[in-house]
Symmetry: C2
Subunit: 181 residues, 2 copies
Amino acid sequence: MNERLWTFAGGAQGAWRITAIHAVKGATLPPATHLAIANGESAAASTWALQGVTSNERYTEQAEKQRLLAVQQGLSRPGSTCAALIPIRKSAAWWVLTQQERRDILETRSRHIEIGLRYLPPIARRLHQCRDLAAAQPFDFLTWFEFAPADATAFDELLAALRATLEWDYVEREVEVRVER
Amino acid sequence: MNERLWTFAGGAQGAWRITAIHAVKGATLPPATHLAIANGESAAASTWALQGVTSNERYTEQAEKQRLLAVQQGLSRPGSTCAALIPIRKSAAWWVLTQQERRDILETRSRHIEIGLRYLPPIARRLHQCRDLAAAQPFDFLTWFEFAPADATAFDELLAALRATLEWDYVEREVEVRVER
């Protein structure tokens, strides 16, 4: 098993209680009360299961990487009792672009990395890639965010800022799964 | 199943007869007489099976892409009775680099795309990514090349030119599987 594989399973069990499942664009996910996160395949029964792998950097340049490393904090902080799983699928028009064209839209024109930096360290995140798994996946990316209850408003601002960008014109499906523990 | 998934299986059956398996760097692959190529999972028994997915462009820029599209030809040409499967694994030092640093090594300093262009259209190729599959893979990339017997010398030149680059300092395992049909 790829040690970078993660499974997010929505169902009747899991460490996180689901407070809302909201379709931002396209079809939603089936209702579930809990979210279980497992490294590798998940053996537990679930209503839905999404998989992704953490991978090498796709867009972040060295100076940006150093700024991120200087301020970001890890997952599982004791105070981070709020979290969100945001699965996204981008359009065929996005995937036909070259790397440089995607970087131009993502950062030069949309400031995706810069926007994320503004909310560090309070909002920790981990990105998982789904598009190149052997099993067909309903989404291209799964992003997992953790934060303290006091930072929930900042998190909503972060999402609103990203969704207002040119990059988001290429998002064809997005679901927001909000959880607490 | 991801429709971009391909399986290359070495064993006793397959449309391609294996003429040589040669470890260029690191461990070789077990002996096999035939290579079977299947879109998706392969149901056939085999001695070894390598999987990868074709994916979006990682390094090619728009001008290079247009030059490639203008001259490249597809796989399965009647005269292409020679072929090679070249699985490669790159080092951790490669994967920790940013995208821009990898592009700088791959093209600015190693001319990987430019070298490949010199051998078009005679040598057709398809690249498969393995690193982000859910099942752990022994290689990061599988490249499949097809050419006519008369272009076998040119193919050897292409391999020698690529292996002499700075980029190849980051290759920690490479096997060459030569086949004919």
